[in-house]
Symmetry: C2
Subunit: 468 residues, 2 copies
């Protein structure tokens, strides 16, 4: 991530009145104090104030806004709660922010067909709750799910803790209504589990980071709620032992629903923050969760405990009840927040490697921290190789920020050498844009740009991001 | 499907010698007797002889062939085993067929990362066998899997019997090497379970039916092999009872790995063909299979039997052993072949509806057969709403073929009215092309064409198919 200097827009453009005329009263925010909360997202050191924010309430208002932006060639950035971690919803100077947070109706839960239909501004946690009320389950659980919107999740193809067993957001999208760059509206998908009628265009919009269209309605797939769950905590004296445990679990044909990892620095931060009695002197803590049929859960939990011990775990603790399991899971979920208290600026990385390269990668991150004299804590999702090296720094210290940039460059290079990806779940946005070409190669990068040019020829949707 | 008159190419074009010079000896077939087997695929009543067939053995030979076609603007149709059921690999008159069947090496099975890498000409059954040898499982099982190629499966996004629980081919593709329309080569994907670095371009090529690029290498995802399996057969006096049973199973939160359905005509044909003692006087036979942990399999099998009986099943039979289970599964898999013996022409439809609309759809198909005085047998995958109404007809009977076309039109209209898709797993190709616009709408159809134009501006790849 290349930290950018804060940018400010110039004087209010002359088109604001015309835009306001085309929408119901109160939709367009222009006062500086109203724009301020929309100048940034969850990414450190990125800030740009937009010319205006449109708070859309309907699909037609979205279409009218995009059409207006298309006519005037005004940059337009779609946005939900703004919890993104790669700068994808940071405004473009002088442009519009189109906020979907007020389109927040759940339209249908169809238990017979295992689907849920909703608007993009519904919170991810509300989707999960509505599914649960019907005895069903919406598995994707990004860290921000209590405050992130489902539309944002789809635009970023969010991951979460359950990726290995349940996949990511993309795997749960059956249909999308999208407003295209010219303001026209298209519906892509249906309730059928199988559908091969033409290219899977919905897959193009999932993870498109607001660069191809604005999502205005979603049809999601649900699954039956797993009847049982068991949570275990294993402590290790070395990262290698933790990684060997993960390999052993997969080799035993166990696919746990979560396999979360915290390194020593992260454990210390979480314990200081949450005081739940985590031992702060171990090298690695692995939180393992299995869900499903009670008999399977029982067997897999025992199997995982045995494998952890065989690989030298210092201690394996099985959560006695749901309350303890929840406490452990909450501790893991608070990792970022806990780390963020240590120093003024917290840069959350998102590199992902094939599972077999995990120990190599974690060791490399530790060595990189030493090499560049930085403090880097690492946590993440071991099951799917998705690591979050978190750089604890201070954006006002220019010399340190240069070292941060160098360290990120080293980590990205090693990730790609190991066959990994520069971003497992946070997206490219602005933060990872400098590295995208290295991963995709010239041909792949050029192909991305061709698709973008075909769908947004004037480049009004989230310009300057991802591949731009 | 609109049956087309057989087409023949003109005299051999003058570029054949130049093409042969650019490739190793023996790669280019031009003799009429060599071209004949490549003039058709598994779709009834479609036949066009190509100018030449290139039997490529390497990625570079594929690239050289596509580059040549691009230079001369020669239509090029990629092809594996040619088992397609929508005419997708039927040649274009005067054009090239690029056959990938000889690129058939399995390159790697990586048990630690649960992946398999191979060339496109490997048979689907060989992929499944290689996975099984490593104690792993490649779930997609299209009916043609013993003879279809994996490259063809990906190009068509093939389904199969396990769609409800395990998804379709798309869900198992982690990476693709693709030769683009200009002959350049791009690699898309990696071994990471999570990857959000740019648009998911691989998803664009999966199911693109040869219209966007030629797949030359694949990286597939595997899962642990389920340790146990149980097969049940339930017989019903009415389709409604069978459909209610399926609804009851889903409501009980059971997701079986297969839920196959045969109607009375299909049962009769299969029994006449295979002589395995199926009762030919029932209205519907449902083959149910559960797989996974032994305790779960036991419980789900009991649950499904109970639900079937509660919904009025005339009989529920549990396969005593693997041999009987295999016999039942084979009987189901032979449905198409058995039906194909009855009359000269067999037109296999592929409409799919939301699961809740199954009984309505099956009744409509029966009524349509009566209305148009046709013989239509129906079988299919009840779990995912994917029906295969199979029209038993004679393509030389023009009057009957007109009625066939009218019946297909009616079935497609009803499918779309019920929120379904014109093709669940066979693709659009030539057969479903007339109906694609009705499903996607003008905006969706135009979007398909924009993406096609961006990736294949001269329209050399499989022209005239799908959206062309």
């Amino acid at each position: 991530m290349k930290p950018a200097a804060p940018q400010e827009a110039g004087p209010p453009p002359d088109w604001l009145e015309e835009l306001a005329r085309r929408l119901p009263a109160g939709r367009v925010l222009t006062a500086p104090e109203d724009l301020e909360p929309y100048a940034f997202d969850g990414t450190a050191a990125l800030r740009t104030r937009p010319a205006a924010v449109v708070m859309a309430r309907t699909r037609d208002e979205v279409a009218a806004t995009v059409r207006f932006a298309a006519e005037r060639k005004i940059p337009l950035v779609g946005r939900g709660s703004g919890t993104g971690l790669s700068g994808g919803s940071v405004p473009v100077a002088g442009g519009l922010v189109l906020c979907l947070a007020r389109m927040k109706r759940i339209l249908e839960v169809d238990a017979a067909n295992l689907t849920l239909s909703c608007e993009p501004g519904v919170l991810t946690a509300e989707v999960a709750a509505a599914a649960e009320q019907a005895g069903l389950f919406y598995p994707p659980d990004p860290g921000s799910m209590k405050i992130s919107t489902i539309g944002g999740n789809v635009a970023e193809n969010s991951g979460g803790l359950r990726g290995l067993k349940y996949g990511v957001t993309r795997d749960y999208v059956l249909g999308l209504e999208v407003v295209l760059a010219d303001g026209s509206v298209v519906w892509l998908g249906n309730k059928c589990v199988k559908d091969v009628a033409g290219l899977s265009l919905k897959d193009l919009f999932i993870g498109s980071e607001g660069c191809l269209g604005i999502i205005t309605r979603l049809l999601l797939k649900l699954v039956p709620k797993p009847p049982a769950r068991r949570t275990l905590l294993a402590l290790f004296g070395s990262m290698e032992a933790a990684a060997e445990t993960v390999s052993g679990i997969i080799a035993a044909k166990i696919i746990p629903c979560t396999l979360e990892f915290l390194d020593r620095t992260t454990i210390g931060a979480v314990e200081a923050h949450a005081r739940i009695g985590l031992p702060t002197e171990v090298a690695a803590l692995v939180l393992m969760e299995t869900d499903g049929h009670p008999a399977v859960v029982e067997e897999e939990a025992e199997g995982m405990a045995t494998i952890a011990k065989a690989n030298g775990a210092l201690e394996v603790r099985v959560a006695a009840d749901e309350a303890e399991a929840l406490r452990l899971a909450t501790a893991r979920r608070s990792a970022f927040a806990a780390l963020a208290r240590i120093r003024p600026t917290t840069i959350l990385e998102d590199v992902t490697v094939p599972r077999s390269e995990l120990a190599t990668m974690v060791a490399f991150i530790q060595a990189t921290a030493e090499k560049h004299d930085l403090r880097i804590a690492t946590f993440g999702h071991l099951g799917d190789g998705n690591l979050h090296p978190t750089i604890l720094t201070d954006e006002t210290n220019a010399a340190e920020m240069e070292r941060v940039e160098a360290a990120i460059g080293d980590i990205v290079d090693e990730t790609l050498r190991l066959g990994g990806t520069i971003t497992g779940e946070h997206g490219v946005g602005l933060a990872k844009k400098p590295y995208l070409r290295s991963q995709l190669g010239e041909e792949g990068h050029a192909l991305l740009r061709r698709v973008k040019a075909a769908l947004d020829p004037d480049g009004i949707l989230n310009p300057g991001k991802v591949h731009d």
